[in-house]
């Protein structure tokens, strides 16, 4: 226990925590949306994130964006981000939708029991991770350093770096856009309706298959954005099994906020990110990855519905 260290580094730990937590939140959206509509933990979602990461990496490599020693000039950086986000979000969304079509839809048509869905999700997750693992010889790949983290402005002891601002801003924008989409648009109403009562919404003329497709699509897009943001962090490394730990944490974040609840995913992600970094301050980096799991178990014991409650259908958002 290093309380003095925690207090000394408090601003830095908090900001880093928010930055990482924002990425967890974006991944958590995929779990929460699919869970809200299908009542299914989509284990393969972590691999959707992983694929997005590799898609961005390969696109950058293909286009010659390789900056190692120093950061790119601004124009080139923006271009790289634009290309990267299209590649990552596209690949992730395509993966998510493909999983739905190939693995889950046949099960739905056969009215398979929930256990079958979970097992299929595991299978899909391992096929994707191992497929990439075999293809990349299970080696880790460093991301091109597109952005050198530097302090942009300072407020008391709080130093905001450029990566933190980018990650948090993008996440908030994506969350607000999604929130508005789900609560205001026609398709969003469809999602809420199916989440509330699939059979009745089918009677009311909602196309359930289309809603499910949409949910996987949105989850995939968000995971792709998260993958891109992860790549511009200084720790960004792509590896075939990178999805596992992030997926577990994002799931914990989703449960923390209340699975099936969009705003809950944001809250849970940020809380988890911050808690992890405080744990780093208190106990050292070795313990960072335990926080999510411990929080998950404790939460399941005392408040299994999460902080903001569960339902995607009941919530206004």
């Amino acid at each position: 226990m290093d309380v003095a260290g925690l207090l000394r580094d408090f601003p830095e730990l908090t900001l880093t925590g928010l930055e990482q937590g924002a990425i967890y939140a974006l991944v958590a959206l995929g779990y929460t949306l699919v869970y809200g509509v299908l009542k299914l933990i989509n284990f393969a979602h972590s691999e959707v994130f992983m694929i997005g990461s590799f898609a961005a990496l390969w696109t950058w490599q293909g286009l010659g964006f390789v900056y190692d020693a120093e950061a790119a000039p601004l124009g080139s950086f923006l271009l790289a981000v634009l290309v990267g986000v299209i590649a990552a979000a596209g690949a992730s969304a395509l993966t998510a939708v493909t999983i739905e079509r190939v693995a889950y839809r046949p099960l739905r048509k056969r009215n398979a029991p929930p256990l079958a869905f979970l097992i299929t999700a595991i299978g899909a997750s391992f096929v994707l991770a191992e497929g990439i693992g075999v293809y990349t010889h299970r080696a880790p790949y460093g991301m091109p350093r597109l952005l050198q983290p530097e302090v942009v402005f300072q407020l008391g002891g709080w130093k905001f770096t450029n990566t933190q601002l980018i990650v948090i801003t993008v996440t908030l924008l994506a969350m607000v856009a999604l929130d508005q989409f789900v609560s205001r648009s026609r398709l969003g109403r469809g999602i809420r309706a199916v989440a509330q009562d699939p059979d009745t919404s089918a009677l009311m003329g909602v196309n359930k298959d289309r809603v499910i497709f949409l949910v996987f699509l949105i989850g995939g897009l968000m995971a792709g954005v998260a993958a891109l943001l992860w790549n511009i962090l200084p720790i960004g490394v792509a590896k075939f099994n990178m999805g596992f730990l992030i997926g577990l944490k994002a799931f914990a974040a989703a449960v923390l906020g209340g699975i099936g609840n969009l705003r809950g995913a944001l809250l849970g992600g940020l809380l988890l990110g911050v808690a992890e970094n405080y744990a780093v301050g208190l106990f050292g980096t070795d313990w960072k990855d335990f926080v999510g799991f411990v929080l998950l178990v404790v939460l399941l014991m005392f408040r299994p519905t999460g902080l903001l409650g569960e339902s995607l259908g009941r919530a206004r958002a």
Partner: protein
């Protein structure tokens, strides 16, 4: 499928797999069950004797291409048997009670580490913390390991089994991964990646013909030990399945709410299944530690948990025989294929693609034959029933 079967819609709607091979299988099964009891005992006995003889070179070299060509047959048999034991244990959790346990190797790790901690003269529990004065023998450590694995199952299952089943999956997954992380990252009790060396081999007193201790580097005696354990565990689990406990599990698996209303204490029986699974996982960990003589976090990767699950699903969850067949296929087949590749002059390592392949197998099986290769009759009809319901919905 023959025309005769098409003519009976009742049978088709029943969803039973009616390929000709399955008919032959059915015929064999009914012939087996019509045999006099003595004959059946003799048949089972012959099978057991065959399995005990199998790792001996003077025996298996007469079995054409059945033995593995590329690796030591006894070692492969040991690993297969060990895998079968894990599958039989996981089958109680997944197949009987219908709970998805994705961190089965977490309990394996608990068993292995407990044995290593209390038996190795280098373990920190003895050298540094002085919890024990002297290392104890392997045989005495096994019950402790099994008990602690079981208790860890109860601790983990307690809070999660009250909730929806899918949380259990993620918590068990996390549990196994956290144990691995703890073991590999922290020096603490488990010595990080250096692990715990000098775990004694089981029963050093037993000597072979030349006067050396039987339990050394030859895999054969370990195979016999595991085989014996498997037989004992199978008898135990089979009796449970046929008792009140087994009927409670079936009720929970088919409809938990209905079971609860009928007075089945669902939480108790789910926890029991989970604890039994954990205990068997711990037991296999204990045996593994005794065989390897060394334990570190590399001994239990996440993939192994998934492979055991794949084995159970492939063979037929809910049926002990199915779990055994599935585990044998999952472990023995890739080794055998590697050997056969050598015979034909090919060189590739199928175990590299093992998880990829079994991931695909899981997806395809869940769609087309969710009941597995050798299904439990009752579980197969559960799937068929659900499939019929959807016809009414669509």
């Amino acid at each position: 499928m023959t025309n005769g079967e098409h003519a009976t819609p009742a049978r088709a709607a029943n969803g039973e797999h009616a390929a000709p091979r399955a008919r032959g299988w059915q015929a064999m099964k009914s012939r087996w069950s019509e045999m006099p009891q003595g004959m059946r005992w003799a048949g089972t006995g012959a099978l057991v004797v065959f399995l005990y003889l199998l790792p001996n070179r003077w025996f298996y070299e007469y079995l054409w291409y059945l033995p593995t060509q590329a690796s030591d047959m006894a070692t492969v048999l040991f690993e297969t048997a060990f895998f079968v034991l894990l599958a039989v244990g996981l089958n109680v959790v997944v197949g009987f009670a219908g709970l998805l346990d994705l961190g089965y190797f977490g309990f394996f790790a608990v068993g292995a580490y407990v044995v290593a901690l209390v038996t190795s003269p280098e373990s920190k529990a003895i050298v540094e913390y002085n919890w024990l004065a002297d290392p104890i023998t392997w045989v005495a450590a096994v019950p402790i390991a099994v008990a602690i694995a079981m208790v860890s199952g109860v601790i983990l299952g307690g809070p999660t089994l009250r909730l929806r089943g899918d949380y259990l999956a993620i918590v068990t997954l996390g549990f196994a991964e956290m144990i691995r992380l703890y073991a590999s990252r922290t020096e603490g009790l488990l010595n990080g990646d250096r692990g715990i060396p000098d775990v004694p081999h089981p029963v050093p007193g037993v000597k072979d013909a030349t006067g050396d201790s039987l339990f050394l580097f030859d895999a054969k005696p370990y195979y016999w030990v595991v085989l014996t354990i498997i037989i004992a565990v199978v008898v135990l689990v089979r009796n449970m399945e046929r008792s009140r406990v087994g009927r409670a599990w079936v009720a929970i698996r088919e409809d938990e709410d209905a079971a609860e209303i009928m007075g089945v204490n669902t939480f108790k029986y789910k926890l029991l299944a989970f604890a039994i699974g954990a205990a068997i996982g711990g037991l296999s960990g204990a045996v593994f530690a005794g065989k390897q003589g060394f334990i570190n976090s590399a001994s239990f990767q996440l993939e192994s948990s998934i492979l055991v699950l794949a084995a159970v699903i492939l063979g037929g969850a809910g049926n002990i025989g199915g779990a055994i067949v599935g585990a044998t296929i999952t472990w023995y087949l890739p080794e055998w294929v590697r050997g056969m590749g050598k015979v034909f002059g090919l060189s590739f390592d199928p175990s590299e693609y093992r998880i990829l392949a079994f991931g695909l197998v899981i997806i395809v099986m869940m769609i087309f034959r969710p009941q597995g290769i050798w299904p439990n009759k009752r579980r197969a009809s559960e799937f068929a029933d659900r499939r019929k319901e959807v016809a009414a919905n669509a």
